[in-house]
Symmetry: C2
Subunit: 235 residues, 2 copies
Amino acid sequence: MEEIKNSTWKPISLEHKLAFSVDCVIFAYDETSLKVLLIKCNMPQFKGQWSLMGDLVSVQEDIEDAAKRVMGKYTSYAHYSLEQVYTFGSVNRHPLGRVISTAYYTLFKFGEESLRQIDSDHQWFEVKDVKGLAFDHDLILEECINKIRKSLRQSPIGFSFLPEKFTLSHLQNLYEVVLDIQLDKRNFRRKLKKLDLLIDTGETQREVSHRPAKLYQFNFKKYRQKHLSGIHFEI
Amino acid sequence: MEEIKNSTWKPISLEHKLAFSVDCVIFAYDETSLKVLLIKCNMPQFKGQWSLMGDLVSVQEDIEDAAKRVMGKYTSYAHYSLEQVYTFGSVNRHPLGRVISTAYYTLFKFGEESLRQIDSDHQWFEVKDVKGLAFDHDLILEECINKIRKSLRQSPIGFSFLPEKFTLSHLQNLYEVVLDIQLDKRNFRRKLKKLDLLIDTGETQREVSHRPAKLYQFNFKKYRQKHLSGIHFEI
DNA sequence: TAAAGATATTGTATTTTTGACACTTATAAA
DNA sequence: TTTATAAGTGTCAAAAATACAATATCTTTA
């Protein structure tokens, strides 16, 4: 391997070679709660505990590619959002040695094709019930939840949770569940109308035993235009 | 060194040992512009270019401690804010090998003791004039500027730029310079009064050749209380 | 086929917040 | 005492946020 030198131009020592990983928080939303996918930790130090999905990053791999690779075990990640959240670098965060880790999260689309087969070592949990994860993963999850809540209000990531066409009630429910708040139906709809970022598809729901709702699509193109002109988004 | 195993319990290979650095963006504000401290890059690949301050993180060092160590060359960092911004992990971002780097920024207090002696290899630049930095530092700086602007509006980081006691005009000027906007004096003051986070010290400016302004302090304690109760801050 | 059940859709009145705008005041210097 | 300089202050109109309830449309069931 080629030699790396530090800023004072001395050859890099072993002191400066360490392991680097990505930890991926896979969120999903099922109309009643925000869920996170966890895996059973097989390290003796964390026997019986669950952890986030993660893996070491190889020297020839971009960290974002590593995150996509980890996500890719569970879904066709290309369709989903992927956000870097924070990098955790305490010396003792990993019991087997120095591992710095960057956390990413992604959102699973509701109503589309489901996960690739997951074995009994994997399980979905409601985020509000999660506690006692291995490593510093409680902290990582907490930061990711904070970030997703902030982003949900200030960017259009929520639409990644929903199918391409959705009703206004679906959208409102998503906000209520993820943010854990109650919203007024009329005020919510007025706000979205003023944002002017939804396309009325002209279609309505099928096979529901009540008045069918109109289906909308998010207008990503118009959003990007507004975003580039510095127009603020807030729900 | 102890052996690290990856998630499939095979011994870790050299493929998973790499170098990790921190890059620090040191901002300062001098009443007329937002400035950033840069250092001349002494690598032949970037001859004549400037770069951010950074260094490799050693295996026994927390990444935040490494950032403080880098900052500490220039100031008594303990008093200053330190924010992690983003981690840059492209395979080819460093010409001498694989180096993943986490970016931090800090804000220098205006009007307090100045920098430790900096040599001719260091220089302050107005952020709006900076271009053509070494490595991917243009990108890193851009991300830090975006973050600082966002944080300035949504958290009380601006006060880290100011001396403990400041006038409302100082504060307004800070917002105008860093955000590159114009603010109405009366509306700005009304907003701050409603936030109810400033303490009137009872003191006024000394030795100014005009009507002396009142001096205020930021009420960090009250801010923390409000913040914990989920009350939103926005200027 | 009529009634019941379920969810969708819509408007108004009140309060709060924002944005635009100009004069008076306090101090130092001339 | 006059002048220069920045500090400090209030109102009106528009926009946004909040609180609140009746009607419409579809399916299911009696």
